[in-house]
């Protein structure tokens, strides 16, 4: 596992005393809590929530696709499309209204 921009953004910069370990799917691994680490709330695509209490735990979950902001799962293009469509429709209606008013 490499420390990428996503991990830095969501978990912060790796503390110097932490060793980067690839945990993978090991069910027996227990993440040790780091009292200096401020708890981060992470979400997955199905809306599950988890509180992570160490940088290592956070990095591993982010590497597995978890995020700290549900906005990531929002289809921005869809919002943009309907916003523009709405604005266009409003524009057309207003234009028609003023044209009729002048006529």
């Amino acid at each position: 596992m490499e420390i990428n921009q996503k991990i830095i953004e969501q978990c912060g910069i790796k503390p110097t005393n932490v060793e980067l370990i690839i945990v993978g799917n090991d069910p027996n691994f227990v993440f040790a809590n780091d009292p200096n680490f401020q708890t981060v709330v992470l979400y997955d695509i199905e809306g599950n929530v988890i509180n992570v209490n160490s940088w290592l735990e956070c990095a591993n979950y982010v590497n597995g696709g978890w995020v700290n902001n549900l906005d990531v799962f929002i289809n921005e293009e869809r919002i943009l499309f309907f916003t523009i469509l709405l604005l266009t429709t409003v524009g057309i209606v207003l234009k028609r209204y003023y044209q009729n008013k002048i006529a």
Partner: protein
């Protein structure tokens, strides 16, 4: 007094300039900090939280900060700081952008600027819906054909044909909206549009991170109108159609992505049927678009206004070029809002003490533009149709500074010679034949002047012997010869200079197969046994010419790479298609985007030998048949043709439009034609 409408437009322009970069993230309280080595981590953690303007206000005009656009960001991150990295003493700050939003913002900015053009007679466009539908299909062809380009330009680029693919739906919707505004904008302004043609050099109008150009869209729309509304030359269209069929039938798709770099927006990045189809149709429509504008401006054309606009544009290009060099913030904004193909130069000083391109992608083409503007202005001053005021004297001076900084010696010398020719022509009536003889003599004198100061990179000692085969020497130097052996150049020098033996070099194992077909042809033509007394060898003459205009290396590289089969040589590979040239042969010995440095060679690549022959015949016919010493565009057509021999101006949309415009000004055109 500024009217209410103009005030609203100015307000909207300011809004478009500021709003996209000033929207903060309201969901948290992350504040901008001074960017230094201690806050790099802070910016890396808090990406997409701080707006660009917030960061700008906090950091002022810190010269150590280099702002760059990050096209690969989400819509949410648009206009926000997307990352900071320290590189030496400098900090690279990435500002999030997204092609869907770019398309809208840049289009509306240019539409608003065009809306300042005064309204004229109304022109009702025909078949608007079907024209728009055709343009959308064309645009889709472009996206499908050049998907490789867009996959690295946009994070969510997706071409799946589905009603749940909102990326493509948004792009099409944006496209429809922009076309609609083009209709309503140009319905009343078409007749005045030609007066503002010089501004295409300032507003290159290339969409950020797209290989598409706003001007191409506008001109394509006009091109369709021209095809619908007026009788056009079937002869030329059928000739072009036959070329098109050949290009499509002979197309060999390759998977390479051609890095268009400074040609962005007017060059094919991929070699496949949809992309070739898009560019050959767009090229055709572009020419028809320019003809359409000219036809519809016949009654309103005021050459004095055009001339003044040339001078103003040249001044603005120089001014903004200096400003972009001085300020990295303005450099970023000029790139975005002028739609530049490439970021403006970041230094006032010239490249290698040689040329300064400012805002333009090419110093050569902008040098030609300055020379063009100065000539046409002085022409009308000489004709006493324009009076030099202090303001125009300043504009002229700025244009002269721009021309000198661009250091296009060929453009400077040729424009001086043509101006002298024009003045002589005004004093005594000269026939076209005398003019051509005069030009040839001046041309030879210039050649002689430059020849004495040239060097061939392969050999510092320029003798006639070496100079007469400079093209072959340079071509072989960059070829695949002696592949895998140490010091290939030494081997080439040994055979060609030491032993003066072009034949032996090909006897070396593998060399004969490695060399390009064009270089082989040129070498054979140079070493042929036919010797006509007092007639120089064609290749030797061409080599001397190339050396004297400092093109032996560039044309040598062209020869080392240009490897057409017979049909490609005769018909070319299609307009603006450089992919097969760059990835076809000899891909390892030339670094970066080394263009042929001659529009004549570009035409040979695109349209083949037949295309080049037709072009030469067509243009020379216009030049000879339409000689008019009182028409400045006659001299300027000659000027552009001379300069096209050594420049790649055909590869840029602005210079190309200028050329077609100049050509049309030499033809007696009517509304019906």
């Amino acid at each position: 007094m500024i009217g209410t409408k103009n005030s609203i437009k100015i307000f909207l322009i300011v809004l478009i300039l500021l709003l996209p970069w000033g929207v903060p993230n309201l969901q948290d309280n992350v504040e901008a900090k001074n960017i230094d080595s201690t806050t790099v981590g802070y910016y890396q953690i808090n990406t997409c939280d701080i707006s660009f303007i917030e960061a700008l206000l906090k950091n002022g005009f810190n010269q150590n900060i280099i702002y760059e656009f990050d096209n690969y960001s989400s819509i949410k991150c648009f206009g926000k700081i997307n990352g900071v990295d320290q590189v030496g003493e400098n900090f690279k700050v990435a500002v999030g952008t997204n092609i869907l939003i770019n398309f809208l913002i840049q289009s509306f900015f240019w539409i608003l600027l065009i809306s300042f053009i005064s309204r004229g007679e109304k022109r009702e466009f025909k078949n608007k819906i079907s024209s728009a539908a055709f343009l959308i299909v064309l645009f889709m062809l472009h996206l499908f054909g050049e998907s490789k380009f867009y996959q690295i330009s946009s994070k969510n680029f997706d071409l799946e044909v589905s009603f749940s693919n909102f990326f493509i739906l948004s792009l099409i919707l944006n496209f429809i909206i922009v076309i609609y505004f083009i209709w309503i904008l140009f319905e009343y302004r078409l007749s005045n549009l030609i007066l503002y043609l010089p501004f295409v050099f300032l507003l290159s109008s290339t969409f950020d991170y797209m290989n598409y150009n706003f001007l191409l869209l506008v001109f394509s729309f006009f091109g369709i109108q021209n095809l619908i509304e007026t009788d056009f030359s079937k002869k030329y269209s059928l000739t072009y159609l036959s070329f098109c069929l050949f290009w499509l039938l002979r197309q060999n798709s390759n998977g390479y992505l051609f890095d268009v770099d400074k040609l962005r927006g007017f060059s094919n990045s991929s070699l496949n049927i949809p992309s070739v189809l898009f560019w050959m149709l767009s090229f055709y429509l572009l020419i028809h678009g320019i003809i359409y504008i000219t036809k519809n401006s016949l009654q309103n054309i005021d050459h004095i206004v055009i001339v003044k606009n040339f001078l103003i544009t040249g001044s603005l290009i120089t001014f903004f070029g200096f400003l972009s060099a001085y300020s990295s913030i303005f450099n970023l904004f000029s790139y975005y809002y002028f739609g530049l193909n490439k970021r403006a130069m970041t230094e006032i000083s010239s490249i290698s003490g040689n040329t300064w391109r400012g805002l333009a992608p090419s110093a050569e083409s902008i040098g030609e533009f300055f020379a063009y503007s100065i000539f046409i202005f002085l022409f009308y001053v000489y004709k006493k149709q324009i009076k030099i005021t202090w303001l125009y004297a300043i504009f002229l001076l700025i244009n002269i500074i721009g021309m000198i900084r661009a250091n296009n010696v060929a453009a400077i010398l040729s424009i001086i010679v043509l101006f002298i020719l024009f003045v002589v022509n005004q004093k005594i009536e000269v026939k076209i034949r005398s003019i051509l003889i005069f030009i040839i003599i001046i041309f030879l004198l210039i050649l002689g002047f430059f020849f004495s100061a040239r060097e061939i990179s392969i050999s510092p000692e320029v003798s006639y012997e070496v100079a007469s085969k400079s093209l072959i020497l340079e071509g072989l130097k960059y070829s695949n010869l002696f592949e895998g052996e140490n010091d290939r150049n030494k081997n080439v020098s040994r055979y060609l200079e030491g032993e003066n033996d072009l034949g032996t070099i090909f006897l070396y194992p593998g060399n004969s197969e490695a060399i390009s077909s064009s270089l082989k042809f040129v070498s054979n033509a140079f070493t042929q046994n036919v010797n006509i007394p007092f007639v120089p060898n064609g290749i030797a003459a061409l080599s001397l010419f190339a050396l004297s205009i400092n093109r032996s290396e560039k044309w040598g590289i062209f020869l080392s790479k240009y490897n057409p089969n017979t049909s490609e040589f005769l018909f070319g590979t299609g307009p603006l298609e450089l992919n097969s040239y760059f990835y076809g042969h000899n891909t390892g010995n030339v670094d970066g985007l080394v263009l042929p440095h001659s529009s004549i060679l570009d035409i040979l690549l695109f349209f083949g030998f037949f295309g080049l022959l037709l072009f030469t015949f067509f243009v020379l016919k216009i030049l000879v048949n339409n000689f008019n010493s009182d028409n400045p565009y006659w001299y300027l057509l000659l000027f552009l043709l001379i300069n096209w021999v050594k420049s790649d101006s055909i590869l840029y949309i602005g210079p190309f439009i200028l050329f077609v415009f100049t050509l049309i000004q030499n033809i007696k055109i009517t509304n019906k034609d």
